[in-house]
Symmetry: C2
Subunit: 141 residues, 2 copies
């Protein structure tokens, strides 16, 4: 059984991304870009890029490009940080905030459809497994 784990988890992740990308397409947004906006809102606006990257568990250069797109679409803003001239503080624009509802509704609906028929208990087990794997990964290196 264990042998299937890495292949199958990768497959589920690919499929999920693909489907969310499809459903957000007409809003001009992708899974990754929505996810950046989602974490920005959840983490409280005014985060620095470093902080947001760490929250999303991605590397800084990956985030930079997501933010470039989002800024180009005027969904977020990078504002100078008064205390530290190296840093930028991130904020949603009014337009960005307006879109968030619709995007999040669609992501939620997809999640409900994808997890249909999965019991709360099984979700808990799965998330616990994920947690253990992340801890194990953290231990090394």
């Amino acid at each position: 059984m264990r042998e299937q784990f890495p292949f199958t988890i990768a497959r589920v992740t690919r499929r999920w991304r693909k489907m969310l990308d499809e459903r957000l397409k007409d809003l001009g947004v992708t899974q990754a870009r929505w996810s950046a906006m989602f974490y920005l809102k959840a983490g409280g606006e005014g985060l620095t890029q470093r902080e947001l990257a760490s929250l999303m568990a991605i590397e800084n250069p990956t985030l930079v490009r997501l933010l470039d797109s989002l800024e180009g679409q005027e969904l977020i803003e990078r504002r100078p940080c008064p205390n530290d001239r190296r840093a930028r503080r991130l904020h949603l624009t009014d337009g960005g905030r307006a879109f968030m509802d619709e995007m999040t509704t669609r992501a939620d609906r997809l999640r409900d459809e994808m997890l249909e028929g999965v019991s709360e208990k099984d979700i808990e087990v799965t998330l616990r497994v994920f947690g253990t794997v992340l801890e194990n990964a953290h231990k090394q290196r």
Copy 2:
């Protein structure tokens, strides 16, 4: 709890890929390329590209590039298919077969480390959840 699922599964998948890439690096191979060789061996050599892509659940153009690299490294061969001049039959080279043991050993060791402390029962639950999600995804579209 359900809300965390999509974010966390993506995170685990990213982390896993990164770690396996690291551990295979000195062999000149990545997770994706090893995976192609693994499925080719598992599915029986002589598969066509279409068949291998379908086995791996990736799209054909994604596989084409993986095979380009692997062929360049002389780990696999694309042989013409006698019955159908459009198709190519895939085979590991002798060199490729020689590498497979070491690569698979490393992938197995990583898997054991990543899943350390996870009970067989929890693995089963998790794989069942994955199965349900893939079915649900299949239903739509």
